[in-house]
Amino acid sequence: DAGVTQTPRHEVAEKGQTIILKCEPVSGHNDLFWYRQTKIQGLELLSYFRSKSLMEDGGAFKDRFKAEMLNSSFSTLKIQPTEPKDSAVYLCASSLDRGNTEVFFGKGTRLTVV
């Protein structure tokens, strides 16, 4: 089985641009997560979907960050407009819809905003 697939792996954007990150979860997984990872803040939850329904979006990220899940096998994270402070690694992850199961992470998208 394929793991979590994220594209692109690297993205460079100019300040003010709109960027869209893509994620394909593990087949059969019902929970999907978007995290942002930085050295200072560690792992921060951006969005959490269960069976395509938005369960939680990180309060601090509502302003310019929007995650969508139009079908069970594909999700996007849009950042609009980008700012230099958004430079980070964005990780998508998925799991079965039970809290005791392993969460599988994608390889991440490294975003640099200049």
Binding site: D31, G42, L43
Partner: protein, 113 residues
């Protein structure tokens, strides 16, 4: 809301010595699930071990941890560190019906020879 605390941000130790990483948590749920995730350089986090049984030791790849609900702790230990253990370690929990992981701040471990 839930929270996880890892007191050590950076740990440097010599190969062959024991290692212990601290993890304490707060949650409203009486039966949380606790996890340790490990992230090697240029890789994604992956599960190292997990537990939900009070006072039962769980082991994997030479690491072990015991969930103690009385002290809300889930410390990670290894008797003899190896160079390949150098990585970022995250403690995390889930509670109730939610699959959302609440992560600690992470502990960067560097093992030197």
């Amino acid at each position: 809301g839930d929270s996880v605390t890892q007191t050590e941000g950076l740990v440097t130790l010599t190969e062959g010595l024991p290692v212990m990483l601290n993890c304490t948590y707060q949650t409203i749920y009486s039966n949380p699930f606790l996890f340790w995730y490990v992230q090697h350089l240029n890789e994604s986090p992956r599960l190292l071990l997990k537990s939900f049984t009070d006072n039962k030791r769980t082991e994997h790849q030479g690491f072990h941890a015991t969930l103690h609900k009385s002290s809300s702790s889930f410390h990670l230990q290894k008797s003899s560190a190896q160079l390949s253990d150098s990585a970022l370690y995250y403690c995390a929990l889930t509670g109730g019906l939610s699959g959302k992981l609440t992560f600690g701040e992470g502990t960067q471990v560097t093992v030197i020879s």
